[in-house]
């Protein structure tokens, strides 16, 4: 094998992987939004008996018959699930769980007993992406028989069959989403409205399931029945965390899918040996999802943590300010040593405090800020006291609420209470500061 041929072999694996992941990923967006991730799982397993029957009838893994067989089962599975569900004897998840495992198990038995067909259990489960680049499509050659198989002599090699099939399926999926975008969107978001408008959400649903099944079949040889589920869900789930726009989510899921393939193949190369390439691609897809989960700029865990930390820091500062105000109110001295150094530094920077001889003084601006908080605190105390909470219960909730109450809400509470002058403990409620 020449270096050139080796390189193109590697590229083909990544291309085929990327086609699988993108084709699955863009449809997966709708599975996720319909909360039907499990349905993708179900269809990808349930198509197995369809495949076996089609292979037995046509003798090949690359035939239209397989797509027909899978398409039928792909639509049959959700119909079976729906009718089981509407019997109201079992719930949807139980219905999905029983339908697909049953069909899959039948498929497994058929594979084991089919004997002479070109399918083995390992291929069914994990796929054999590493061999797909060698099964190429030759056009214009002359066929010859060898060892019972038909080969082509001469002609032009136009690349792996898998790449062609998957490319066409990806294109079909893109066209499906493009032409039915509006219908898919409304059927997913508000099926009742879609139905009342005559946009047939059920039909759209079954069409989607049909394309999920077709895509599963196309991906089957490369990644198998189990790993394909990861390709349906992980790219869409990652994209969901990254954007608020459906169109962008679909686009990003395609990108994430392609990236999973490339990263996954690199991971497989790094691990070396007999590692499953498709498995590595699924791991990469999972890894990208984990990254999005933690680091998504809008919804990531890290950002939310940071936001909460910032809020907590604000509460701390506000509590310190209220404390200082109270100390002054009692006519006591407000000492530097009673407060954290960084709080004092920040307050001085913000022109809230001045410091002289170890003693802290609120500036006019600082007093106003503190009065705002104090007013919120004591108004809330007065308000929930009026609602019937005893005097000694009102302080703690007010300690929390003082950070949230807006000026408008304070005014509303004051009006409701007919502008009270003091809180339930008899402390004065500062009047609304001039703005």
């Amino acid at each position: 094998m020449t270096l050139m041929a080796f390189a193109s072999f590697e590229i083909w694996i990544m291309v085929i992987g990327a086609l699988v992941c993108s084709a699955c990923g863009i449809l997966g967006c709708f599975l996720i939004l319909k909360k039907l991730a499990l349905m993708g799982d179900a269809i990808s397993h349930a198509v197995l008996p369809g495949i076996v029957v089609a292979v037995m009838l046509s003798g090949s893994l690359n035939s239209i018959a397989i797509f027909v067989g899978a398409g039928i089962i792909g639509v049959l599975t959700p119909i079976l699930v729906d009718s089981l569900k509407s019997s109201r004897l079992i719930d949807e998840d139980a219905a999905i769980g029983s339908v697909f495992t049953f069909l899959f198990a039948i498929g497994v038995i058929m594979v084991a007993n089919a004997g002479n067909i070109d399918l083995d259990t390992e291929c069914v489960l994990y796929g054999e992406i590493a061999t797909t680049p060698f099964d190429t499509w030759v056009v214009g050659g002359t066929p010859y028989e060898f060892d019972g198989h038909t080969f082509m002599k001469g002609g032009t090699d136009i690349g792996p069959k898998s790449a062609w099939t998957l490319g066409i399926v990806l294109l079909i999926n893109i066209l499906f989403i493009f032409f039915f975008y509006k219908e898919l969107k409304i059927s997913t978001f508000d099926p009742a409205l879609a139905l009342s408008m005559g946009l047939k959400p059920k039909l759209i649903h079954y069409l989607l399931m049909f394309f999920v099944a077709i895509t599963t079949i196309a991906s089957f040889e490369a990644v198998g029945a189990i790993i394909v589920v990861a390709m349906f869900i992980a790219p869409g789930a990652s994209a969901y965390l990254l954007t608020d726009r459906l169109s962008l989510m679909i686009f990003l899921s395609g990108i994430v899918g392609a990236a999973s393939s490339v990263l996954g193949y690199m991971l497989a190369l790094a691990l070396g040996g007999d590692v499953s390439i498709a498995g590595c691609m699924a791991v990469a897809a999972g890894g990208i999802f984990a990254m999005c989960f933690f680091f998504s700029p809008k919804y990531g865990v890290v950002v939310r943590f940071a936001r909460r930390y910032k809020l907590k820091k604000r509460f701390h500062a506000e509590n310190a300010l209220v404390n200082m105000y109270r100390t002054h109110e009692l006519g006591e001295r407000c000492l530097v040593k009673n407060y954290r150094h960084n709080v004092i530094v920040r307050f001085i920077q913000q022109n809230i405090l001045t410091e002289k001889d170890g003693e802290l003084h609120l500036t006019e601006f600082g007093t106003e800020k503190a009065q705002n908080l104090m007013r919120a605190h004591r108004l809330w105390e007065a308000y929930i006291h009026k609602l019937g909470l005893p005097e000694d219960h009102v302080h703690q909730p007010a300690d929390e609420m003082e950070h949230y109450l807006t000026n408008d809400l304070c005014t509303e509470i004051a009006q409701e209470l007919k502008n009270p002058q003091s809180d339930p403990h008899g402390k004065p409620i500062p009047t609304k500061p001039a703005l």
Binding site: F180, K182, F189, D190, L195, S196, M197
Partner: protein, 266 residues
């Protein structure tokens, strides 16, 4: 008011004939039969589980009915879909869906646009106008989960307005909204009535019926009464609706589910 204009006023826009709706074989609405005149704001009132939402869903063909038929503008609803607007319950959709307020309003245009075609510039302009009408123009590009309950309800209302219908069905538009939103919705309802459109509203709050509506349907698994609010919304009818004298209907429904055990013929 002349005789002729009165006749136009009283024109029937929705005709529900002997409608029975069952979930599986368990009936939830029994032989409901009524007509709605044009230009009315009609409240559907009744206790929880009375079948109020079920009724409007059945009228729109969203759920199948067992017997009876519905005509809207003297036609089966399939023929007049483009003249119907629908506001489902706010809780019926996933507000985390990746879409914006203006996008949701534009969905109101989908029925008019028809299959395959996409909303054009004009549809977006119309949608924006209605978003403005409910006072939500500043939130057009907001992701819908970032809106408050009242704001979400207004977006739903704008979406129904974007359907530019002649009859509107609204499923609890006042549920869980703030005072400002409630007032805004009521004003819109009045405006629709002025344009002699008909609005049918599933409503929970008995205290506001007099103020908001001029027509009422009292419902509890069957029709109790229908008519103008002044005459129909009275103590006797309310007692019939909420008085829970439905033991026989409930038992009959249960009997249908179970089948007769002491069968007359074995």
């Amino acid at each position: 008011m002349g005789r002729e204009s009165k006749k136009v006023d009283e024109e029937t826009v929705a005709d529900v004939h002997d409608l029975t709706v069952s979930y599986h074989i368990h009936p939830v609405l029994w032989d409901v039969d009524f007509q709605v005149p044009r230009g009315k704001l009609m409240a559907i009132v009744g206790p929880n589980g009375a079948g109020k939402s079920t009724l409007i869903k059945a009228m729109l063909g969203i759920i199948p009915s067992t017997t009876g038929w519905v005509k809207i503008f003297n036609e089966p609803y399939q023929k007049v879909r483009h003249r119907i607007g629908y506001v489902p319950q706010r809780g019926s959709v996933d507000w985390d869906f990746p879409t914006t307020a203006i996008d949701v309003v534009t969905m109101g245009r989908y029925g008019k646009i028809g299959w395959f075609r996409r909303p054009g510039k004009k549809d977006r302009e119309i949608s924006y106008t209605y978003l403005e009408k409910v006072g939500m123009q500043d939130f057009a590009q907001r992701q819908i989960s970032q809106l408050s309950g009242g704001q979400q309800q207004r977006v739903f209302l704008a979406r129904a307005l974007a359907q530019e219908a002649d009859i509107y069905f609204m499923d609890e538009p006042f549920a869980g909204v703030d005072v400002v939103t409630e007032k805004a919705i009521v004003n819109l309802l009045f405006e629709l009535r002025e344009q002699s459109k008909t609005v049918i509203v599933v409503h929970h709050d008995l205290q506001t019926v007099n103020e908001y509506f001029d027509w009422i349907l009292l419902l509890n698994m069957r029709k109790i009464a229908i008519g103008n609010v002044d005459d129909t919304f009275n103590e006797e009818n309310l007692r019939k609706t909420y008085g829970g004298k439905l033991a026989i209907l409930s038992k009959a429904a249960n009997a249908m589910t179970k089948g007769r055990v002491d069968g007359i013929i074995d």
